[in-house]
Symmetry: C2
Subunit: 228 residues, 2 copies
């Protein structure tokens, strides 16, 4: 009919608005069909279900992220962190959808479950990618823990932003959280490979919390240089 087919984003946006106005259960697919100009039947065909419609935008992002990982030349951990960054960006760049959706998700357990399922898909994709990039057929314990940690850190920062979308330091928070997790992942994944080569070293420092950081660094520096 209309030569321009309604885009996914337009449909999601219309649905989000209706949900916000009438409530999720109070909105029928007939209503969404009327609002978008797409027939009820076609809505189901394209988006599967009422819940899926709310997350359709996100599903497309998922595909993108998976393809990104497969094409990335970076080392595995860095690739996964970058992938998480893509996901995060997917939220931050489109607050018009993600913020009201977050309100819906908080209010409706069923929608919460649906969003949790999304992050679980990412976690599974991360696990699979890390596993395959180490040549394993199945994700190891370490790989799954790292994937879970990356997702947890992502969600932690994301929830903070969703509560206060105006926060300008989101990306700073995100990077800090990720480098924190990456440091955690390093000994788990990279360490595994190096352990076989028997080359890793361990540094342990115990110091009072009111130490002068620069003094501490000097001491660490001496320790590292000293026994090489």
């Amino acid at each position: 009919m209309a030569t321009t087919r309604v885009s996914t984003r337009e449909a999601v946006l219309a649905a989000v608005r209706l949900f916000a106005a009438e409530g999720f259960d109070g909105t029928t697919m007939d209503g969404i069909a009327a609002a978008t100009g797409v027939s009820r039947r076609s809505l189901f065909r394209r988006f599967g279900s009422k819940e899926d419609l709310l997350f359709a935008e996100h599903d497309e992002l998922f595909e993108t992220v998976v393809r990104y990982m497969e094409a990335s030349p970076e080392p595995p951990t860095a690739t996964v962190v970058a992938a998480a960054r893509l996901v995060f960006q997917g939220y931050v760049r489109d607050p018009e959808i993600t913020v009201p959706r977050y309100r819906l998700v908080r209010a409706h357990p069923r929608l919460r479950d649906r969003e949790v399922a999304m992050t679980a898909r990412y976690q599974a994709a991360f696990s699979r990618f890390l596993a395959q990039s180490t040549g394993a057929d199945r994700p190891s314990l370490e790989v799954e823990v790292v994937a879970a940690a990356v997702i947890a850190a992502h969600n932690h920062v994301l929830r903070g932003w969703l509560r206060e979308p105006g926060d300008t330091r989101v990306w700073d928070r995100f990077d800090r959280a990720m480098s924190r997790v990456a440091d955690l992942a390093e000994p788990l994944l990279g360490g595994g490979a190096r352990r076989e080569a028997g080359r890793e070293r361990v540094l342990v420092a115990v110091y009072p919390s009111d130490s002068d950081p620069s003094d501490l660094l000097r001491r660490v520096s001496e320790a590292v240089e000293g026994d090489r």
Copy 2:
């Protein structure tokens, strides 16, 4: 009618058998009502939905686990690990339900999402518990990462068992995985507690012997400055 009301477990078991025989979508609530002797209307009242019925047993376990954590005298990390052990036991001790359910879950994305939602509830409960036991109002990044890691380890071992329920060394695997994660959690949480107490701090770094010393120092610097 019957003086003995049908137990949750009986209902779940009957439902699982029907699902296995007729498929999940091929089984109607009328069919389950007939098989259990409970009216269709009462099934919905007690279990909420067809999906929830499949996991009703598990929902009860969740309540138990939460109460257990609140009453546990052990330190936080040990309590969470013990809680995960309770969950694991919930699966292992009842293969008659959990194993066929796993087959259903693998085949039906919707059911998979529902199970993922269960583990997410546990993860959230663990996070909340760890946060409150450190006196925080909101779970910190570290707390959420630890909770995610515990859940990931639990699920990793669990999936292995679900694939081969006959495996007798499950508990050994479970304990190994958990101690692995607990070692990871120690510096993250224990360090946090000591930090608040204003006592000494511990820095642990694992690095390849051919690292660039200045790069190493930069990372140490970030770690020291980053969380003060």
